[in-house]
Structures are given as C-alpha cells and as structure tokens.
C-alpha cells in the first residue's frame, strides 16, 4: 500500500482510519481481507500493452462481434423480456435533449413538458389496465410486483403474502429480496388453489404466467377477496391488447414490465415498471404521481407532482416506500410507443403475437416426438408455450443454435424436458417455418 497517499476524493485522515479500525477491532486495513486466500489477495495482473483509440475500437468491436444478437439471428426467447418492433420515431423523440437530459424532477413544476409526458404515461397505464390511477413508473416489473405486495401489507395490516408458484423465478427472487428483510412471509401456492388462509395480505398472480399460460383470474380474484386480501396481478402489457384487463377481474393492484412497449432488449435494463391501483388505495401507492390541475390565475392546465408528502425526501423513514424516483425517460419512450400504436395498433400487435405463436405451436405439435404444453394441455395461452421434444433440452438448444436459431429457454425445473418458446410479431412466417424444419431435423433417430 502507498503510505501517506492523499486522494482527492477520500477525505479520511490517518487518525480517522485508526479510529475506525479500532472500532472494528483490527490492526490494519489488510486484516480486513484475510478471508481471501493469500494467493488471490494481491494478484499479479498482466495486462496487454496500451492501444491507440483506433486499435482499441477494433479490439472492442471484434469482442462484441462474438455475441449473437437478437435481430441478427431469429430468436424465440421471451420469459419476461420480449422482442417487439420499435418504430424509429420512439428513439428519435426520446433522444431530444429536453427529455434525454432531464433527471426525474425534484423542482418539478418548472418542467411542465416532462411532467406532461409522465402524466400521459400514467393515463395510458390506466387505460391499458382499466385501473383508476397509475404512478409515474417503478424500476421494473419485478420491483413493482414486490412494491405491490408491500402495499397490500400496509393496507391489510397482514404480513403474509401468497404467491402463485407459476410466477417467474426472477420475480420470486426480487420478492424475496424486498419482503423477507421486512419480516413479510411468502407462501407459495399452486395453480389449483381453492382455499386460502384468512391471514393473506394478498395473492400475487402473473397474467400470463411464467410459462405463458393465462390463469383463471376470475376465480383467483374471488378467492382472495373472500378473505379480504388484495388481488395483485402482474401483466405482460402487450397481451392486454387482446386479453380482458385485470380490472374486470376485480384486481386491486396491477403491475407489469413495460419493456415490451418500445424498449429494446439490453441485459435487463433500464426498463420501467407499471403500477396501477384503485382510487381508494391511492395514499398507499408507492412512488411519484403526476397530477393535472389548473392555474390559480388563468385557465391553463398545469401538471404537478402530487401526494409528495408521502415520499422519502419529506417523510423520511415513514415514507410509503423507499422509491423516490422514477424511470422517467423510459416511461416517456413507452408513452411515445403506445401513442404511435394507438389502441387498434396494440390490438393488432397482440393478435399477431397470438396468431403466429399458435401457428408455430400447431406446426411443432405435428412433428413426431414433440408435445406442446404437456403440463397444461387444456389451458389458454398467449404467445409463449412449452415444447418437449425427443432430445434433451441442451441438445435441442445447441442444435437449433447450430442451425442459426436462438430458441427456447430451459424450463426443465418446471416441466420435464421443457423449452419455453416465445413468438412475437417480429418473427416472420419464414422464421417460424425454419424453426419447425430445424426441430424436425432432430426427431427421434
């Protein structure tokens, strides 16, 4: 270690360091790293010699070219992040400086344009879900889902959350991260649940679920309401282009991942979560809400951040939630995308996804040795379905890849030998037919 090295950004003095070490009970900073085996503690890193900018760019591009990208190769991956067509207008408008460079507004009323964009986003989320009120957006679908569970606990003063076992394992992991440290218990229940304990704060359902199947929201909603718990439904927003909105099944809180509405796939983010609820619960709604009002002198509309008194920067540890920001730019992109599609356009996209996926499933089911949704043969589904084939999933995946197709997520933990396929409007008939041919090439030999 370099002694007496003064770093511009680290203000600690030697005596402060000494004090901290004494509190922790170690002699020197190095002692904090004793857990790490010695041979790894101070590795000798041999880096290649420095490159010029031109050489570096070439180097990075050649590394990047090792990746296979969705769009360069037909992909049938879904599982929570979906490849949909995004009109160029979305990027062109969102990259305007007024949107791109403005952070979530803390002195909000000076940014009327940003607030209006968020207000439009909220209004669209309400239209899409059928709910009364939506907030400015959460970090992503999974955190929105977890915040909904916490909100249900606050509203019911119950601390046990019932979760369908058909939800995505990523979402379950985020639920655990959010809920367990707050002493909220998670109870996993099966799709066939027909009784629920009286201490349930809420029932959490995905619509469609992690394997693409559309759950019976009507009976699940009745079930949780029979014990005065809340019904929380997480949606794939594109599916709402043709499925009934959760509000028609008496959902109390609706969340969802909005990536499918104008946001490209990019290593899981930045995405934006939707969060909508009933009016009567608005004071427990986490996050920010933009409201529309009018001038006190004059008759122009204006936009304001409303119910801010419940947010963290004012209410500190008593805040409704510890989210005090939003994914404003991503939400703006979603609003632009939805405005371009319009209700009819969204319905068309949903219809295309449904039709193409069902065409693919029918063709695959006709191949010898292949089965569609063996775990739920009689259930309705949207655009994702499970395929089991004559070979192991690893062999199927590798063979498809060798034939130029990115295909199927391994879901063997849920369905023996299962691969989850997703088809969207972006997959052409040719691509689907090629997928079928590729699978047929691997039939039982």
């Amino acid at each position: 270690m370099v002694k007496n090295f003064v770093h511009s950004y680290i203000p600690h003095t030697d005596s402060e360091r000494r004090e901290m070490l004494d509190v922790v009970g170690v002699n020197q900073i190095e002692d904090l790293f004793l857990e790490i085996p010695e041979k790894y503690r101070d590795p000798n890193i041999t880096l290649p010699s420095p490159l010029t900018e031109m050489e570096l760019l070439q180097e990075l591009e050649s590394l990047s070219a090792k990746n296979v990208q969705v769009g360069k190769m037909p992909s049938f991956l879904g599982g929570g992040a979906y490849s949909h067509f995004i009109p160029s207008v979305v990027a062109s408008l969102t990259s305007r400086g007024e949107f791109l460079t403005s952070y979530t507004p803390y002195q909000p009323e000076v940014s009327q344009g940003t607030l209006q964009a968020t207000y439009e986003f909220q209004s669209m989320m309400c239209e899409l879900t059928g709910m009364d009120v939506a907030n400015a957006g959460m970090y992503d679908g999974a955190t929105a889902f977890a915040e909904a569970a916490l909100m249900a606990c606050r509203l019911t003063k119950r601390y046990r959350v019932y979760v369908m076992d058909s939800i995505s394992s990523h979402y379950l992991a985020v639920l655990r991260t959010y809920l367990l440290p707050q002493s909220v218990e998670i109870v996993i229940v099966s799709d066939y649940i027909n009784e629920i304990d009286g201490d349930a704060a809420c029932l959490l359902v995905q619509y469609p679920n992690a394997l693409g199947v559309i759950p019976d929201l009507a009976s699940l909603g009745k079930l949780i309401h029979s014990v005065d718990g809340l019904f929380v439904v997480n949606v794939y927003p594109v599916a709402l282009g043709m499925l009934k909105p959760p509000s028609e099944y008496e959902a109390d809180i609706v969340t969802g991942e909005c990536q499918s509405l104008g946001i490209p796939l990019s290593f899981g983010g930045p995405y934006v979560g939707m969060f909508a609820c009933r009016n009567e619960h608005i004071r427990q709604l986490p996050g920010r809400i933009v409201g529309k009002t009018n001038e006190s002198h004059g008759d122009r509309d204006g936009f304001v951040l409303t119910l801010q008194t419940r947010e963290q920067h004012i209410r500190r540890e008593n805040a409704t939630s510890n989210i005090c920001t939003s994914e404003a730019l991503i939400a703006t992109a979603v609003a632009i995308h939805l405005a371009l599609l319009g209700p009819r356009g969204l319905r068309q996209v949903a219809q295309l996804c449904y039709n193409k996926a069902h065409y693919a499933a029918r063709c695959i089911s006709e191949l010898p040795g292949y089965y569609i949704n063996p775990h739920a043969p009689d259930k309705y589904w949207f655009n994702e379905f499970v395929v089991t084939g004559p070979k192991s999933v690893d062999v199927l995946q590798k063979n498809l890849f060798d034939q130029g197709i990115i295909g199927g997520i391994n879901v063997t933990d849920r369905v023996k030998g299962g691969l989850l396929f997703c088809v969207t409007e972006i997959n052409s008939k040719q691509e689907i037919d090629n997928l079928v041919i590729a699978l047929n090439n691997m039939k039982e030999s």
């Binding site: 004071r283 008194t309 419940r310 004012i314 209410r315 008593n318």
Partner: protein
C-alpha cells in the same frame, strides 16, 4: 383559547369526556395550525382497539403527513365520517366539528396520565414541543 373541558397530550391531541367512559378525541388548534391545510385524515375503523401513546392514524396536509397518536386506550365506537369528504373541518373547528373518534375507555384511571388545559397551555408556552 384552550378549552378547559378537555384533557391534552404532548402530541397535541385532546380528549373530552362525554359520558362516564365515553370520550371524544381530536387534535388541538396548535396541531392544526402547525399542519396547515389538512387534506386527508386516516383513522382506525369503528370497533378497533387503540392504545394510549401508540400510533392510531395519520393527518395529511399539503406540506406534511403526521402520525396521530392515541391519547387513550379503548375501543373506537364512532369515527367522524365527515372528515372523509371535508378534512378541512380539522382546521376550521378542531375542538368541535373537526373531532376524530369517539372511544369507549378501557378504564377511567388512564385520564390521570393526560394534561389539564392549564398544563397543556404551559407546555405550549414553554416552547419544548
């Protein structure tokens, strides 16, 4: 200024005995003045048990949300429903139409824990609040 027919707490709630063990509770004029325009009051439901000094609800104004602490222990027998639509009653008439709950006390002895109007007035004057 400070009604003499009530008991008070240092959290600025008042308690008025209506009939033996039946009391009415609300927040004081000082409290409403500190909060500013009240826009929402969240109170426990009819029939629920509340405990002296424990949080029983929230009062929200345009600038803050404040916890309400119960001045007594007992069972809520009536909630002022008018506050749902007209929370401003808390500002306009804190000791009258702006009342919050009627409570059946678990015991009358607990009233001894509360401040008299005189004590509450001195507490406000002391500036310790």
């Amino acid at each position: 200024m400070i009604p003499t027919d009530c008991y008070y707490t240092k959290e600025h709630e008042w308690v008025r005995v209506e009939d033996a063990t039946l009391v009415v509770i609300g927040i004081t004029d000082f409290a409403q003045d500190q909060l500013g325009d009240v826009i929402y009051v969240n109170l426990p439901e009819n029939g629920s048990e509340i405990n002296q000094s424990a949080q029983m609800g929230e009062a929200e104004s345009v600038k803050a949300v404040s916890d309400l602490f119960s001045p007594v222990t007992g069972t809520v027998v009536e909630v002022n429903g008018n506050l749902q639509d007209a929370p401003e009653l808390v500002n306009r008439d804190p000791y009258g139409d702006g009342w919050m709950l009627k409570v059946e006390l678990s015991s009358v002895e607990q009233l001894a824990n509360l401040l008299s109007a005189d004590q509450y007035g001195k507490y406000l004057d002391s500036g310790e609040h």
